[in-house]
Symmetry: C2
Subunit: 222 residues, 2 copies
DNA sequence: TAGTGGTCTAGACCACCCC
DNA sequence: GGGTGGTCTAGACCACTAA
């Protein structure tokens, strides 16, 4: 069904910007139930192919969708998937009062306690990613008594703590001396940086800043 | 319906990794039709919350390999959305034989002709993005006779040329002298770089390498 | 207010795949 | 083989919104 509609769009029966017939007419035309047409069209909307408005009808999107989807894998799985051996090292672990910049990001009260971790993930013993992690101890008190010597915070959190909202941002930063050293890169070299914040029902859970080794590329197809 | 299921997951009735009851049981429990449960669950699968396998059942994904979705706006619209004034300048326009590295990327025959464009997008007269663009002239012959003095290739292509597949990749690169100069940045400074390739039915259409001014961040929430 | 999509029901058959 | 999800039907009512 979905294929049949797609074919017509590709064939030019319904060029970009054109209106499609209503669900009932299409159902007759294809000889199937209206619910079937409806489902196929709803899927095409989520695929970014169609655009629907009540009372107006369904149109083929004229400017093809410009949405990209990323799956953010666990770093361990990402490394293993390349065929390399995964390695992990904890560099720093400290409980502290939340820094001001992080208070704003996680929406925490003043003097909230956070666990700060810094660790390195290796692929075949070569540094792959430096993870700077802050965990809100009022949201995740168990974290205070876990040592993170063997298991990375990423792995641990994913199994322990659900979240409802997240924010991701990508950027390029010049490697700070400490980061550069841990990554085995030159000072100031361009580092791909991913920041991720997660909340559970409005309460900030954790913030991570991930620094990737030089030449890392994050790729997606659609 | 979808909400009801999500609530239970959040509430911990079905913790990560747990199996949910079958569709028929759930339908009884919620007092609704099986098709309704089915649709809600399928949607939760596409949201990355659930995982389903025939004969095995439905589970809550333990590692929410959640997908982040980006909307890649037209650069012009992105700049205007910040309240700044959009500016555009064409720096270079040349028809040439496709370079080898690009042949592989676009899947072109040797000696295919491509149009190479280099331009800068400004926000309030400050360089915002440098666009390095290659267009396959056998796929888009009209491009050869368009001068791109006033309209950026991005704007033009989006209106003229459909595509069926695309690949996006993000990385951090040290600014090459030419790029640095155009961006008004220091040589070697960290530049966020986005590469985008699009195909139409298997035929490479265009490749773009976008270099953003320092401190650019690409952000998404979900 | 009329017409569109959005959602649901109750039932049916099929495809897959672990046991 | 048998239980699971995948998909479909035919019909119904609701919600939104442009005219």
């Amino acid at each position: 069904m979905k294929k049949a509609i797609l074919e017509r769009i590709r064939a030019g029966t319904w060029p970009p910007g054109a209106s499609l017939p209503g669900e009932i007419d299409l159902a007759k035309e294809f000889g199937c139930a209206r619910a079937t047409v409806s489902r196929a069209m709803r899927e095409l909307v989520t695929d970014g192919i169609l655009e629907r408005r009540r009372k107006v009808g369904t149109r083929v999107r004229s400017a093809p969708t410009r949405r990209a989807e990323f799956t953010i894998p666990l770093i361990r799985e990402e490394i293993i998937a390349t065929g390399a051996q995964y390695g992990y090292a904890l560099v720093e672990r400290e409980i502290q009062i939340v820094p001001v910049w992080l208070r704003a990001q996680l929406d925490l009260p003043a003097k909230a306690r956070v666990l700060r971790l810094c660790c390195v993930h290796f692929a075949d013993n070569v540094p792959f990613q430096v993870e700077d992690r802050w965990i809100n101890l009022s949201a995740v008190p168990e974290a205070a008594s876990f040592d993170f010597e063997e298991t990375g915070p990423n792995d641990w959190l994913v199994r322990k703590v659900p979240f409802t909202n997240a924010e991701l941002s990508f950027s390029a930063t010049g490697a700070q001396p400490r980061i550069a050293e841990m990554l085995g890169a030159a000072h100031g070299s361009a580092v791909f940086t991913l920041e991720r914040t997660t909340w559970l029902e409005g309460a900030g859970v954790t913030f991570a800043r991930l620094h990737f080794a030089p030449h890392y590329k994050m790729t997606t197809r659609y």
